[in-house]
């Protein structure tokens, strides 16, 4: 079960469900884009808040298992993966 965490500001779109489980077969992989499409199928509207012209809204990054993923929407998630959409931070 991959878990997609829903950002707090759009919980109204998922009836307050803050994490959505998506079945991924053992050894299988799904891209974050595919996972999002699945979430969108169940809770219409989520995608349009996270994507802008098919890309992540500016300033938001994909985190998989606590690591910011450089591949963004193309990143692969496995059955145990945890996905967050949170701001990317650099520093001074």
């Amino acid at each position: 079960m991959a878990v997609v965490h829903i950002p707090a500001l759009i919980l109204d779109l998922t009836d307050g469900e803050d994490s959505i489980e998506v079945e991924i077969a053992p050894d299988a992989r799904m891209t974050v884009r595919e996972l999002l499409a699945e979430v969108e199928r169940r809770h219409p509207g989520v995608e349009s808040r996270l994507l802008d012209n098919g890309e992540l809204v500016p300033g938001i990054a994909v985190f998989i298992d606590g690591e910011q993923s450089r591949a963004g929407l193309h990143a692969n998630a496995g059955p145990e993966s945890e996905i967050h959409f949170i701001p990317a931070v650099v520093g001074g």
């Binding site: 965490h5 950002p7 707090a8 500001l9 759009i10 919980l11 803050d18 349009s48 808040r49 996270l50 994507l51 802008d52 809204v57 500016p58 300033g59 938001i60 985190f63 298992d65 606590g66 690591e67 910011q68 450089r70 945890e82 967050h84 949170i86 701001p87 990317a88 931070v89 650099v90 520093g91 001074g92």
Partner: protein, 768 residues
């Protein structure tokens, strides 16, 4: 030094303190900083800046200036391409290129005091100054709003007519000064507070502060007739400067070469472009190199300080000290253009505590001030200040040791950050324990009236990002290491140490080089405490590449299969011990005969960044007659991962603590009703001097980061975070006053003392 994990102590060079390779030049005055480069035919550029914090520009007449003898070029916003809305990579996430253009040179509105209106190049600086004065600008002065609270009010006119609030992919209908609303939520805070035995909610305020690097911004540009641009500048991020310029001028990256000069401090403030595009425009028009240097006043009002903030924090605890819920409401000054610092602060504010129930709401707010940029652990100090104050209040009310309370609630590996993801291996608990065990914390409280001790914690993410490195092996077996990371505080030495460790050389046998943007692969900013981690990683990878190549050479020399050759302990060995070991030094002279030069490459975009945590301890005394706070003793404790060059790690902790102490006690932008800064000088702004700070003791807790081959964790940013809370808590414990507005400067402390009259809260000493 505290050491954790068994793998430690196996290093030869890492952990030693060699003399930095650029040191000689820096103590003899030979090092070339940005202002030190000159060309015989150079012109001097000066900037005309708006005297108003908010004004419509009705007209700009440059004709008189242009006609002055010695004036070679004048530029205004008209010379910059008018670009369409497009989000481009920026310092804290993406920014609209149109706003970058507008920030660099104002076209129809001046949005902050010091906003550039025009720039002039002349044959000497005095003529340039006169010419700036000869430019005639007509303004319609508008009401300026510089305080976050005011800017958020419904009836305050929005700075930018068209900007609306972004709430994760959705825009508000109405134009407003609130750029963005960020929220993190977990569990049920209301339920958590209901379960608490004690709930404390307080409001806190911090003022705009500046990084205060001693070297002012500078830029020297040459625009050649073939369209190639060379820029010499002091920047933390040469590749980002190149990117920003390419975006602004809408030209290919390959037309711009950025030469990073030695840099006199940055702390996050020398990342964005300010003078760079102006110098280029002036050079393009005049055909000559143009050199520009900001005055200190310009640095203060027109570079990128850190946000003034308002936060409201609420924390609930059980009698035993377990936190049941926490909420934070935070508003951050963005400056005159959208920025993301509240968003960043929202991810720091509760980072030290394990929480089931939380909600954080953060607002980035436009003000008529220069756009806020990064400042060391950007946004974390303002965010954590309030939390650390309340935690201390709770400790007093529950009669618990404040470090014990923190330890009880501290996050560790596997706990979730407030914004969701789980922490990897972190060393907060080890750091708290080291602080509790420290000689300072165990020593008796300072004796005497109005004295006490405070503690507070601090957090920073640290960054990874992209870096490139090459390692060339010389014919005598020494090595050159080239990276694209500007050396702002000794990173050449760290790179050399890591390369020496990897290649079995001494630090002195490695020559570290910082290259320009034409001469090394892409490398992100020197900032985010990422250089030793990520660029060090690239150096490590480049060295592994060298070892791979050398292995082939050794096999050739020994006339054996490669799998018979093994690298270990700084030399190649024959697996069956049939040959005497060969070091890199032995191989240098043999390279030519075995196939030619050997050069290793390393490029990384690493995962495995390790977050940084620190605890500071301060003994202070408050003078009840003047309100002045004197620091009697100060200790900084931090998980630094593996310290590569411990002296520079200590230096980062001492320097960060001192900046934090300045922020806590004295530093602030003071503005008049029209939004003009009244104290744009080092002394009036009050950067700490050697008399304002004590010796800073350091305790390095080394919890190696498993995400790095040498266990490196970013170090530089975390230490600026704890001082505000530490000193605030010490003052509260000394005289029973909670100074919830920074800075806790003598007039403010005195005011509070006088307001309070005799007694309110009895002073509560820390137990130890």
């Amino acid at each position: 030094m505290e050491q954790h994990e068994a793998q430690k102590n196996e290093y030869n060079i890492i952990g030693t303190r060699p003399i930095r390779h650029d040191g000689e030049d820096k103590v003899t005055g030979r090092a070339q900083y940005g202002a030190d480069i000159s060309f015989p035919d150079q012109l001097y550029g000066k900037v005309l800046r708006s005297p108003h914090a908010h004004a419509r520009i009705l007209s700009i007449d440059t004709s008189k200036a242009l006609a002055m003898p010695g004036v070679r070029a004048v530029t205004t916003a008209e010379d910059l391409p008018r670009l369409k809305d497009r989000m481009v990579a920026g310092e804290a996430g993406a920014e609209n290129i149109r706003y970058v253009t507008e920030r660099v040179l104002a076209s129809d509105k001046a949005l902050f005091e010091g906003h550039p209106i025009a720039a002039v190049a002349a044959t000497d600086p005095w003529i340039a100054e006169e010419a700036v004065k000869a430019i005639e600008v007509k303004y319609e002065v508008l009401t300026a709003v510089t305080e976050v609270r005011d800017a958020m009010k419904d009836d305050t006119p929005p700075l930018h007519g068209e900007l609306t609030t972004e709430t994760l992919g959705e825009k508000s209908k109405k134009a407003t000064n609130i750029v963005r609303h960020t929220r993190h939520k977990r569990g049920d805070p209301d339920k958590g507070f209901a379960e608490a035995d004690l709930v404390i909610e307080r409001e806190f305020e911090t003022k705009t502060v500046h990084q205060g690097y001693i070297e002012p911004h500078n830029a020297t540009a040459l625009y050649r007739s073939d369209g190639q641009i060379t820029l010499w500048t002091s920047t933390q991020a040469p590749f980002w400067v190149r990117r920003d310029l390419a975006e602004l001028f809408d030209i290919p990256l390959s037309r711009i070469k950025v030469v990073p000069m030695e840099i006199g401090g940055g702390f996050g403030g020398k990342i964005a472009v300010y003078l760079e595009p102006l110098a280029i425009l002036l050079s393009k028009k005049s055909g000559r190199p143009v050199k520009m240097i900001m005055t200190r006043e310009e640095v203060f009002y027109a570079s990128g300080p850190a946000s003034g903030t308002v936060t409201r924090i609420k924390i609930g605890v059980k009698k035993d000290g377990t936190i049941t819920a926490a909420t934070a409401w935070m508003a951050y000054e963005a400056g005159a253009f959208p920025s993301n610092w509240a968003m960043v602060g929202s991810m720091c504010v509760l980072a030290c505590y394990r929480l089931e129930n939380l909600q954080i709401d953060a607002y980035d707010v436009l003000t008529n001030t220069s756009k806020v940029m990064a400042y060391r652990a950007p946004s974390s100090p303002q965010a954590m200040f309030g939390v650390e104050s309340i935690i201390d209040e709770i400790a007093i009310k529950l009669d618990m040791d404040p470090l014990e309370l923190r330890l009880k609630n501290a996050v560790q590996e596997g706990d979730r950050r407030a914004d969701g993801p789980k922490f990897h291996r972190i060393g907060l608990k080890e750091t708290i324990r080291a602080a509790m065990e420290s000689e300072h914390y165990k020593s008796p409280l300072p004796s005497g009236a109005n004295r006490s001790r405070g503690v507070a914690s601090g957090f920073w993410f640290n960054a990874g990002m992209q870096s490139s490195a090459t390692v060339g092996i010389n014919m005598d077996g020494t090595a050159n290491v080239t990276t694209g990371s500007v050396d702002i505080g000794g990173s050449r030495a760290s790179m050399a140490i890591m390369a020496a460790e990897a290649l079995g050389l001494t630090a002195e046998q490695v020559r570290p080089i910082v290259a320009d943007t034409d001469s090394i692969g892409y490398t992100d900013v020197t900032g985010g405490s990422r250089t030793t981690f990520a660029t060090g990683y690239a150096v490590y990878e480049a060295c592994q590449d060298v070892i791979r190549q050398l292995k082939t050479r050794v096999a050739k020399l020994w006339d054996v299969q490669e799998d018979k050759v093994e690298w270990g302990d700084g030399a190649f060995h024959h697996v069956d011990n049939g040959k005497s070991p060969m070091s890199v030094g032995d191989l240098g002279p043999k390279l030519e005969a075995t196939g030619g030069p050997v050069m290793g490459h390393g490029t990384v975009n690493p995962k495995g960044v390790g977050a940084g945590f620190g605890i500071h301890i301060a003994d202070i005394e408050v003078d009840p007659d003047t309100g002045k706070v004197t620091i009697l003793r100060y200790t900084a404790v931090q998980d630094v991962g593996q310290a590569i060059h411990p002296a520079y790690v200590e230096g980062q902790m001492q320097g960060g603590a001192t900046q934090g102490i300045g922020w806590a006690l004295n530093e602030e932008y003071i503005r008049d009703a029209e939004g003009r800064m009244l104290n744009p000088g080092f002394l009036d702004y009050r950067v700490p001097t050697a008399l304002d700070v004590p010796d800073i003791e350091t305790i390095l807790v080394e919890v190696p980061n498993p995400g790095h081959p040498y266990g490196v964790r970013g170090v530089g940013e975390t230490p600026i975070v704890p001082p505000m809370g530490t000193i605030h808590n010490a003052i509260a414990r000394a005289i029973g006053l909670r100074m919830r507005s920074l800075p806790m400067s003598p007039p403010k402390v005195l005011h509070e003392i006088l307001q309070r009259g005799q007694t309110v809260e009895a002073a509560a000493p820390v137990t130890s």
